[in-house]
Symmetry: C2
C-alpha cells in the first residue's frame, strides 16, 4: 500500500544553497530527505511547492512524499524534528490523497519580506531582515506596492537569468504593515517569477527613498524594463509564508 503525506517545513535559509538539492552544497530538501530516510529506513524523495533561493527562509514551505509504510502525523513530526538540524523544523504533517502534488496543486502563495528601517543595524535581525538605513518615507510603501496588484506581464520583475516564456502572473493581494521593530511587506500571487518579490521590494524601497512614486510601477510593468525598478532586495529578508491548496 502507498501513502502520501504533506508537511509544512520551516527553515532559516542562511546556511543552505536553497530549497532544492544541489550537488555541491547542502540544501533544505536534502536535509529533510535524509531525516525522512532515517525515520522510514529507506530513501524518501520529497516534492516541494517550489524552490527558494539561498538565504531565503520559510515558515510555510509545503512538501509531500509517497511511502509504502505508514507513520502517524504526531510521531512523524516529533521524530523528524529530533533528527533535523536546528535551523530546519517541521510544523505539521497530514495525510493527503495519493495524487496530491505539493508543486502542481499549489494555487497561490504568500511571501513575506521583513525590513528593518533604522539608522543603526541590530544584531537580532542579522540574516533575518533587510536593514534599510537612511531616509525613506515608509508611508509611501503601501501605495507603491499596491500598483503591483492584478494580472500583469512581470518581465520587469524577473531576474535576467530566467528563461520562462510566459511572464504573466496575478498578484492577488499585497499588504504593508509594521510589526514590532520591523516593516512587513506581503505579496500573495498565483505564481512568482525568479526574484519577483525581492525586485518588487527593492522597487518599493527605492520609491520610498524619494526616487519615484506609484506611477513608476505602471511604467515599469508596461515597458517590461527591469531597469525602471529598484535593486533586488537581499535574500535574507524573504520568507515563504504560506502555500494555499484547494
Amino acid at each position: 500500500m502507498r501513502f502520501n503525506k504533506a508537511m509544512i517545513i520551516e527553515y532559516l535559509g542562511t546556511n543552505y544553497a536553497g530549497w532544492q538539492c544541489q550537488s555541491h552544497s547542502p540544501s533544505i530538501q536534502e536535509e529533510v530527505q535524509k531525516a525522512l530516510g532515517k525515520l522510514y529506513k529507506k530513501p524518501v524523495t520529497i516534492v516541494g511547492s517550489g524552490r527558494t533561493d539561498s538565504g531565503v527562509h520559510s515558515m510555510g514551505q509545503t512538501a509531500n512524499f509517497v511511502t509504502d509504510s505508514y507513520i502517524g502525523d504526531e510521531s512523524l513530526v516529533l521524530g523528524i524534528n529530533s533528527i533535523l538540524p536546528p535551523d530546519i523544523s517541521v510544523a505539521k504533517a497530514w495525510d493527503v490523497p495519493l495524487n496530491f502534488h505539493a508543486q502542481k496543486w499549489a494555487q497561490k502563495k504568500t511571501y513575506l519580506y521583513k525590513i528593518l528601517h533604522s539608522r543603526v543595524r541590530s544584531c537580532f535581525y542579522e540574516d533575518r531582515a533587510w536593514w534599510v538605513k537612511g531616509r525613506a518615507d515608509m508611508d509611501l510603501a503601501p501605495l507603491i506596492l499596491k500598483e503591483f496588484e492584478g494580472t500583469h506581464d512581470f518581465t520587469s520583475c524577473c531576474a535576467l537569468v530566467s528563461l520562462k516564456q510566459n511572464n504573466v502572473r496575478t498578484v492577488l493581494e499585497t499588504k504593508f504593515y509594521r510589526a514590532g521593530d520591523l516593516y512587513h511587506l506581503e505579496v500573495t500571487g498565483n505564481g512568482f517569477l525568479h526574484n519577483m518579490v525581492r525586485i518588487i521590494t527593492g522597487t518599493v524601497i527605492k520609491g520610498c527613498r524619494g526616487s519615484y512614486g506609484p506611477e513608476r510601477v505602471r511604467e515599469m510593468l508596461e515597458t517590461k524594463d527591469r531597469k525602471k525598478g529598484g535593486p533586488t532586495a537581499p535574500a535574507a529578508g524573504l520568507y515563504l509564508k504560506e502555500v494555499f491548496y484547494p
Copy 2:
C-alpha cells in the same frame, strides 16, 4: 582632557562565553573593547552594568568608557557597528559625567525571558527562547511569578556556586504576557543573584506544569531551599532588557 561615554549594547550571546572577558574564550566585552581600540587607536577598557552568562542575550546592556579623545555619538555608533561582529551591535551612545560608572550607578534592571510553549520546536527560536513542550497551564504563570515581588532573601533563587553574603534583593515588578508566538516573562529588580531570573522562570514553569501553585514560592523563599524551586531555565531564553540609571 577626559571624556566619559555610555553605550547601549545589543548582543546574541550564543557564540560567547558571556559578557566578561575570559582568558580562554571570546566575550562580548572583549569584542567591544577591540572595536573601540580600532576607533580610538589606543586600548580602551569598558565597564558593563553587570555580567551576563554564556548564551544570555542583551538588548539593553549598558557600558561606559573613559578616553582622552572625543568622537561624536553618531560617528561612534556608526563606526563601531561597522567593526563589531554581526551578533553584537551598539544601539546608542551618549556623553555622561566623568564619574558615571555603568555598574555602580545602575539603580535597577529588567530581564526578559522568552518561552516557546509548543508541542513542536521551531527553527526561528533556536537559541533565542526556551522551548517548553508538553502540557503547561500558562494562565498560572503570572500568579506564581507575582509571588517573587517584594524584598526577600533570594538564597533559594541563586546558583549554588554563589558566594555572596547578603542575598536580600527587591523585585520591584514582574510581568507575564504573550507577544506573537512567545510568552514573555519580565522581572525588574534592584539587583540579581547569579541565575536568579533563570531559577524564577524554571520555578514558574514547573508550577504551570502542575507541580504546585503560587504558595510554593512563599515556602521556597522562607525556607531558602533551592530544591523547592524548579529547574534553572536555559540561558538561551534570557535577555538583559534594560538598565535604569538616576
